[in-house]
Symmetry: C2
Subunit: 485 residues, 2 copies
């Protein structure tokens, strides 16, 4: 298509992009394909000035998505067309393989330009993801202060508050006047990640309060910082989990959260945009764990087949092998099944319903745990609630199932084996299975958290296996006592 495009058509296309997209920025995402096509056409015609005009009004994250859809050999050229500041912002948005490719193509001067524009926490992310030879080159071209800060932050364990914090925050002294403080902010602001919240420290760098920029602007010039600051000392420690940190930020509706060392000295801050990324990442991990996958930190389409296979097989294998128990139970009751074969046909329904009931309870509890709505001390409260819910659900399902077995299986499908007694066995099993499933499902995540395991890992598939075995045992127990087989 690109080859046959006339100049006229290309011009119309560019016009379309300008009219439909840039005058109505909400549509950018839906229209990325159109922009992409125009970019490729302009590239093939070497109309670089037009390209620059086309890309410059876009926000960095959108250009990042565009670059993700382009061939890797087209990216360096486009990247050099971007205005310097935008280029650095786009760089942060790229996948690490694209970043690496760009860095390897950069001249030393170009590399320094990009690195100078990066915020410290983005520089740290970059260093964490690049191979050793690239890291050496990056560190060589950052200024000594930044290099020191990067090395500082790199020392904190992955997923800790220290590893996601930035040290580029505004600190004030308590005896400053508002005028001093505003001067200090004006002087240092260009290098700070945020100035919306400023932190007050004493002479030993202990965190003693904070001040919003709003409060500063509304104060009189000669007010003393120590007198107008907020004294609340909500902070996290460098080694605290990044998820706890993000959730504290969300709970207190802060724009940034101070990070202190073990002696309560302020060493950095975590900003809300990074907290949102952490929450997104941790939520994805929870989804993956609950679906029996090992968590991966790459987007779905960027993960290779081998990596995906590696993340999925271990749990599948374990769950498959653990199904041996259900197999043994079935073999054990083989003669019973032979004497009343109709029982077999309800096994999938029973284990399915058990699995679904258990998953409902475990999902609700896991989510409540991760939102801190439920604690270990609530265990009996939760069990009591699930007991009542499961009785209601079980009775309701059993009723519906009894009617269905009588009307559909017995009358409609004309199966004389489905007697009232068989239906009673199935329905009684249903009630017991739902009860067991919900109690196991709600208790296991809470117990897992108590003994230090990840509740999300204890979720659906694992619980399903346990519930499968339990429901079969219950089924045959009830069948043998009611039907005497």
């Amino acid at each position: 298509m690109a080859e046959n495009m006339t100049d006229q058509e290309l011009e119309e296309m560019i016009e379309d992009v300008y009219e439909d997209v840039y005058e109505d920025m909400e549509n950018v995402e839906e229209r990325l394909d159109d922009i992409l096509e125009t970019v490729e056409e302009l590239l093939s015609r070497k109309q670089y000035a037009d390209l620059r005009d086309l890309l410059s009004p876009l926000e960095a994250p959108d250009i990042g998505i565009l670059f993700g859809d382009l061939n890797n050999d087209q990216i360096p050229l486009l990247f050099r067309l971007l205005p310097k500041e935008l280029a650095a912002e786009v760089f942060v948005e790229l996948e690490s393989d694209q970043q690496q490719m760009l860095i390897q193509g950069f001249s030393n001067a170009e590399l320094k330009e990009v690195l100078d524009e990066l915020y410290l926490d983005d520089a740290v992310d970059l260093v964490e993801e690049m191979p050793a030879n690239v890291v050496t080159r990056i560190l060589k071209h950052t200024d000594p202060d930044t290099r020191k800060s990067i090395n500082e932050i790199l020392k904190y364990p992955e997923d800790s508050a220290g590893s996601i914090m930035t040290t580029e925050f505004v600190d004030l002294k308590e005896n400053m006047t508002v005028e001093d403080a505003l001067k200090r902010i004006r002087r240092t602001a260009p290098d700070k990640e945020t100035i919306n919240v400023c932190y007050v420290i004493d002479e030993r760098r202990h965190l003693i309060g904070y001040l919003s920029i709003r409060r500063l602007l509304l104060a009189e010039e000669d007010d003393i910082i120590g007198e107008i600051m907020e004294k609340s000392l909500i902070a996290v420690q460098t080694l605290d989990d990044q998820e706890t940190t993000a959730q504290a930020l969300s709970k207190y509706d802060f724009l940034a959260l101070p990070v202190v060392d073990t002696e309560n000295r302020l060493v950095g801050i975590v900003t809300v945009d990074d907290a949102m990324d952490v929450i997104e990442e941790e939520t994805t991990e929870d989804f993956e764990k609950m679906a029996a996958m090992l968590p991966s930190d790459k987007p779905y389409l960027k993960t290779g087949v081998f990596e995906t296979w590696k993340a999925r097989t271990p749990w599948l294998l374990m769950l498959m092998l653990s199904a041996t128990f259900t197999g043994i139970i079935l073999t054990h009751f083989e003669s019973a099944l032979m004497s009343c074969a109709i029982l077999t046909s309800f096994i999938p329904m029973l284990s399915g319903t058990g699995g679904n009931s258990g998953t409902q309870a475990s999902t609700a509890v896991i989510r409540a745990l991760s939102l801190d709505e439920v604690r270990f001390s609530d265990l009996f409260h939760v069990l009591w609630k699930e007991l009542r819910v499961s009785l209601c659900c079980g009775v309701c399902l059993a009723g519906a199932n009894f009617i269905k077995m009588m009307l559909v299986d017995r009358m409609l499908l004309n199966n004389p084996d489905v007697t009232v007694w068989v239906a009673l066995v199935v329905c009684a099993t249903l009630v017991c299975t739902v009860l067991c499933a919900k109690l196991v499902g709600c208790a296991m995540p809470i117990l897992a958290e108590k003994i230090g395991f990840d509740p999300a890992v204890m979720a659906s598939p694992f619980i399903t296996t346990i519930v499968d075995a339990l429901s079969l045992l219950i089924y045959f127990e009830i069948a043998s006592s009611i039907l005497g087989i």
Copy 2:
């Protein structure tokens, strides 16, 4: 325990709370139980001054959690002990039934005091959740301007950007100087939800740009706003989905996102703290839908048994009834099963593995869809990827299973029915089942989104039912062709 506490013990307890909690605010959450006990003891002794001192240093969200654990008749008293501003913040954190109870106990003067301290979007939330008679009383005691704004926002549909926005933002004109702008901000700031980002509008209120407070502070006093503002026009429309809004905020790392009407006039902003709440809420909904529950908007422990039952039974019922198909398939192959009973014992393993494989694929794709990493145009890309992943997984599982059947089932458990041919049937079924499960699992969410359904609803349980039926059909097909039954 509370009855027998001596004054000495109480004093030590209060001291403990001060030392362990207030000097080290990170521990607040873990120590809430201690604070609660102290509060209850102080309440029973009517030591109200001590109570006020104990509660005042806490942040509103923590007091909110404390109040959630107290009896409803203790709350009004405690609430009145709080400093006025803190009281209003705590009010926002309470569950709606506690808010209602408080309002009903308020004098008109008290109600007005609390309402005056609320931000507009919190006032709207309150009005949305209260019964009609309480709403009338609330609106009667808000000032006319606020009342008008509340009514304005209430007109937008639930879950729209308009319903979560606030109209309390800073707007600037493009011909203002920086000095004018700072004056305007100082004058109006106390009523604004945020001043960190200011929006520039033309004389017809069209959004034409924005400015961070940092940029304003760094500019010269006589710079013209129109020249130093950012011209990017990323905005959402009032009727856009709140989830899209929150995700745009997160993607662009903004602190607030402007909301415009159909004619691009600025009507409000959505701030990052509200966006985080929306993301949390929508994620919980996704978890609930993927676990076959109807979404609820209350925390787990606050949802009554009846409500929980209502949210869980419909899907359980539907899935139970849809399992009729697997039952019919089993009945249909009853004679085949009779002639080779050992086949039955592998059914739970096969359907379990199929279900787990399908869930893995569907969860990965649903999450990628909601993070906008995958679009409909990627369907074939996704299918091709899952095809290769499923072949790898399937072959790997089949190999492990063959060894397990030979070593464990045949030799260890000494079951002569488990022949090499039976093992081959089971392993071949495994490969086919995993293949089908992953393809169905990855395609259904994408197709669901294309035709306007919620992909999360198409997840695990629904896919499990389809895969169950498919895997049984494959099993019997392969068994009859290999074993000739």
